[in-house]
């Protein structure tokens, strides 16, 4: 029976695929998996999901960490947007969430009620949102002011040679190309930073649109994810969008400088971003510092937080103490050694103040009442 053979071939290939992993577990550890991974029963998968802005950094950390632990710990991070990260964190389908908008008081209280402990917002890296654009013949360095950006996103400025843009950019012969506004179509912390900046500088924006992880945009087209916006901008002459600096750098996109609150033209850079965070941090690090008062700080920046429960045993996604410990180890590694990856990938390093706040929070992470965070920190430090 040819037909049966074909069918069974598919099943066999499926089963083969399964047994392929099987060799990693239990008795199969003899055949080669051992050299790679030490005792295979120690192998742990950690699942995280959320913001797409830190995704290149976190997935690169995961790659690196896999090497550091000789393939023992695999961190699977799926970029589903900050909104998704918060939701799945609260629904306890993932071990850690990642977001560019800190948890609201409501969510913090819900978590407290359902798990008997706090939800920690731990800064992992800094998000800087830059104005990206695609004007044929123009590289990076166009200067924008807050009100010009707001009016472009309001639909009041529709052409690149509008006098208000040319005034800011003397000597540049901008074309009469129509402006295509691109924004995120999904819930996103990048949007949160971008719109909170707009809300801080414009009363009209605050009243009509407000800020949040997704808003009711007055104009423009939506791109799904940081990727989607970058893709739409790269592919559309005349487009303007907003992306993290790292996305812009990685993809050779043109990005603009911004006039900050102190009247300085700030070109986006890691230093300018770290400078923006150079303010007093509250203990739980839940603070937005867009339109920063720092004199040479880049005004459109914020933290990207990792979300972790205080009482890890109450997160349904974590099944045992070993998983909890590996999660905390990864967390400690990512705010210390993991930060080394920042610059090469286009991220600003965490300021020391934020690292200290993180350590204070990790010390309080518990498994069934036991302060495992503190124990593991002592191992490392």
């Amino acid at each position: 029976m040819k037909a049966m053979k074909t069918i069974s071939l598919f099943f066999i290939s499926g089963l083969l695929a399964l047994s392929f992993f099987g060799c990693g577990g239990g008795e199969g550890s003899r055949n080669g998996a051992e050299q790679r991974s030490g005792r295979s029963s120690d192998r742990v998968d950690i699942l995280g999901a959320g913001a797409s802005f830190p995704a290149p950094l976190v997935t690169a950390m995961a790659d690196e960490y896999r090497g550091v632990t000789s393939n023992r710990v695999t961190v699977n991070y799926q970029s589903i947007g900050s909104g998704g990260g918060i939701r799945q964190f609260v629904e306890q389908t993932i071990m850690f969430g990642m977001t560019e908008a800190f948890l609201s008081d409501d969510v913090m209280q819900n978590v407290e009620a359902s798990t008997g402990g706090r939800a920690f917002n731990m800064p992992i890296t800094l998000a800087d949102v830059v104005t990206t654009y695609n004007i044929p013949g123009f590289d990076k360095g166009l200067v924008f002011s807050s009100d010009v950006l707001v009016d472009i996103y309001m639909g009041n400025i529709t052409r690149w040679n509008d006098s208000r843009i040319t005034e800011l950019n003397p000597g540049k012969d901008l074309p009469s190309l129509p402006i295509t506004v691109v924004h995120r179509s999904d819930g996103s912390g990048t949007t949160n930073i971008w719109t909170s900046y707009f809300s801080r500088v414009s009363d009209e924006w605050r009243g009509r649109v407000g800020y949040g992880t997704s808003v009711n945009w007055p104009v423009g087209v939506g791109g799904n994810g940081n990727e989607g916006v970058a893709g739409a901008v790269i592919n559309t002459p005349g487009a303007i969008g907003y992306n993290s600096l790292s996305y812009a750098l990685l993809n050779d996109m043109s990005y603009g400088s911004v006039l900050n609150a102190s009247g300085n033209i700030i070109e986006p850079s890691f230093e300018a971003t770290t400078e923006a965070a150079n303010i007093d941090l509250p203990e739980d690090t839940r603070i937005l510092f867009t339109n920063t008062p720092a004199e040479y700080g880049y005004p459109i920046a914020g933290f990207a937080w990792m979300l972790v429960y205080e009482n890890l045993e109450n997160n349904n996604a974590i099944n045992n103490r070993q998983q909890a410990e590996e999660l905390v180890r990864f967390l400690i590694w990512s705010i210390t050694d993991g930060q080394e990856l920042s610059e090469t990938l286009g991220y600003a390093r965490l300021p020391m103040a934020a690292v200290e706040r993180n350590i204070a929070m990790i010390e309080e992470v518990k498994w069934e009442g036991e302060l495992i965070g503190k124990e593991l920190l002592q191992d490392v430090l």
Binding site: G212, N216, N235
Partner: protein, 328 residues
């Protein structure tokens, strides 16, 4: 050989338990399995209704259907009208574009092409119908949308900007991702489907019908026009309805190409959204319960619309007793 085997089975003592109870159990198992499909459809309706409850309570069914605001940020108001309009407009136009060419190909295969060519084209059509939506989508993103932008949208837009600025809001932004692009891709995707269904309908035309027309001295085209098309009209109609149903539910390629704009006004070239595209884009990212419930409510609307479409198609099919595209 086979006969021997058969008789050996027949020789077995046929006890009451073996036959009566066996039949009972078999029927019970089969009916249980069949029932599970009915339950599955019921579960889908129930889960969607249940999850959509919050949004429908908040806005009312009519209010939700009529609502034009989709604002998960400030007002937390959700209305489905833009997505319903987006879905219906893209699907109707896709069907309008696809219908005549698809019927022409079916007639070509059935009546004109030499046998070998007809069977090659027919197989090709079936094959193309099986191409995954995401594969069409990746071609759309990297090849078709940029080509449409360079060839049509940008020149038209620049011309209108210089000569007829009043047209600009109707045309929309020439980004390449938008309603027209999505509609054309949708049309391409349902052509094989419509063709296969039309071909099935034409196959139902009895030989006598054609022979009668030939006997009257009709030319080939006249045979088709007077004998074949009138006879298979119902089947072609049902096929068109089913194709429409398919276009309504098409998700990935549309989500990749329509540009994702969640509120009116839509424009010809500019971005829009459909019911499946908004679900795919926002379901994983939704934070608020009301937002999630509203997405489920959109799913419910989609369910009801495609139920109606399929019921109409089933009615037309039954009425005219034709097979409804078994091969796809």
């Amino acid at each position: 050989m086979q006969n021997e085997q058969k008789s050996s089975i027949a020789d077995k003592p046929v006890s009451i338990i073996y036959s009566w109870l066996g039949d009972r159990i078999f029927l019970t198992v089969v009916v249980a399995l069949g029932l599970s499909i009915i339950l599955l459809a019921g579960a889908m309706a129930w889960v969607l209704t249940d999850e959509a409850g919050m949004a429908l309570d908040e806005f009312g069914i009519i209010g939700f259907l009529k609502g034009t605001t989709w604002d998960p940020g400030v007002q937390f108001r959700f209305g489905a009208l833009p997505f319903i309009v987006g879905t219906l407009v893209t699907s109707v136009f896709a069907l309008a574009i696809a219908f005549y060419p698809a019927v022409a190909v079916a007639i070509f295969i059935a009546e004109y092409a030499p046998r070998w060519l007809g069977s090659i084209i027919e197989n090709l059509v079936h094959l193309i119908a099986a191409v995954p939506s995401v594969v069409i989508g990746i071609w759309g993103i990297f090849v078709f949308a940029p080509w449409m932008r360079e060839t049509f949208y940008m020149p038209i837009f620049l011309w209108a900007a210089d000569h007829q600025p009043a047209l600009l809001p109707i045309l929309g932004s020439p980004i390449g991702y938008g309603m027209t692009t999505a509609t054309i891709i949708l049309a391409l995707m349902i052509i094989p489907f419509t063709t296969a269904l039309t071909r099935d309908a034409i196959r139902q035309v009895p030989k006598e019908q054609r022979e009668a027309a030939w006997a009257l001295g009709a030319t080939k085209w006249e045979v088709i026009r007077m004998a074949v098309i009138p006879y298979s009209r119902g089947g072609i109609m049902a096929g068109a309805i089913l194709s429409f149903g398919r276009a309504i539910g098409e998700t990935m390629a549309v989500a990749m190409l329509i540009g994702n704009k969640n509120n009116f006004p839509f424009s010809i070239m500019g971005p829009a959204a459909t019911m499946p595209s908004v679900i795919v884009n926002e379901f994983r990212e939704a934070v608020g319960n009301l937002h999630l419930s509203s997405l489920m409510a959109i799913g419910l609307v989609l369910f009801v619309i495609s139920l109606i479409v399929n019921l109409i198609a089933a009615y037309v099919t039954r009425k005219l007793s034709i097979t409804g595209g078994q091969s796809i």
